[in-house]
Symmetry: C2
DNA sequence: ATAATACATGTACATATTGACATATATGGT
DNA sequence: ACCATATATGTCAATATGTACATGTATTAT
């Protein structure tokens, strides 16, 4: 547990930054596998500071606006690397409301089913298109010891996942005869 | 929101059953896309009863052991069908601790990375094998208006998802040069 | 007989997460 | 000048979820 803790430590291990910047990272780089609102991030930063995992310095944006730039400590880095190297069983399959609906979709009329699958397919195709465009940021696949390798691997996985989801949705429409 | 509510109503719409049996359903049929412990189910059943969505009759197992058999009401069925037919945007990508680790895997030694990917691949292959065996319960693919269609569609999706995950893990080992 | 496991229902506490509330400065465009 | 949007940090309340606590009966194998 305490996954948010390690997500934050991992990001601060890459680069010192403010809570606001961390927030932005969760909405961009980590978006395909983790999320956190600022209302969860700020309290966690406070806790991590108290625990000695991170420290901060106050910087000024513009004339007076203060921001706290957080930096990981040696203790924090140690804890993060211990967590990262830990052997852990695969987590239970995550909750998925759409699959829950599909499970009960026998109760829908053919028209309703059609609309459900079509709507989702369109949204997943859009996401897939966005992810493929994201892939362009890598001119060439990063080497196995490049700092970008993790980013590249999860993006590859996200694209494969979306491709399969789209295939599945098409198959559903086919099997459900609509 | 209130997804647990609709998962329960959906199951009770198929068949009246006790909290214990509902619990078992979450661990078997719904396992690939939803989960709930009995400590969450029993309070929700109480709430749904108060809301008039379900009713129960007390039955006796053996000589004295009481169990409550819950049945969906007309109001409950109506609410469930309304929810099922609702147009809803795709949910944000679910949290995935393993992908979080992969994102940071540049910090690991090649040996540690190898062990991480291999361990996960073995577990996903086992799950895939189990799911394929589950598929045998369908002698022939259920027709589009069969009550089993939802079950069949989600199982198909679960197998496709696991297959893709396994492919991705192999690709990761390849790309990370281990 | 007895022991292990399944059946059966509940509560209590801790943690995780989201949405709303609350406030204030900085910057870029019109 | 003014407005919209982005930057910046925090709290609060509600909901969701999981682990542990708590209790008792039924069935099956030894």
């Amino acid at each position: 547990m305490r996954e948010l803790k390690y997500a934050i430590l991992g990001l601060l291990n890459q680069k010192s930054m403010s809570g606001y910047e961390l927030s932005a990272e969760f909405e961009s780089a980590l978006n395909e596998f983790w999320s956190a609102k600022h209302s969860q991030i700020y309290p966690e930063l406070k806790k991590l500071t108290q625990e000695g995992m991170i420290t901060y310095e106050v910087a000024i944006s513009g004339h007076v606006l203060q921001k706290k730039i957080y930096t990981i400590t040696d203790a924090g880095r140690e804890d993060f690397l211990r967590w990262l190297a830990e052997d852990q069983p695969i987590s239970p399959t995550p909750k998925d409301v759409f699959r829950l609906r599909v499970f009960f979709s026998g109760e829908l009329t053919p028209q309703q089913r059609r609309s459900m699958f079509e709507g989702h397919l369109a949204q997943h195709l859009a996401r897939l298109s966005y992810l493929r465009q994201q892939m362009n940021k890598f001119d060439t696949p990063p080497g196995s010891s490049s700092p970008e390798i993790g980013d590249y691997l999860v993006l590859t996985g996200a694209i494969m996942r979306e491709e399969t989801t789209c295939e599945w949705l098409k198959k559903c429409m086919d099997l459900a005869g609509i």
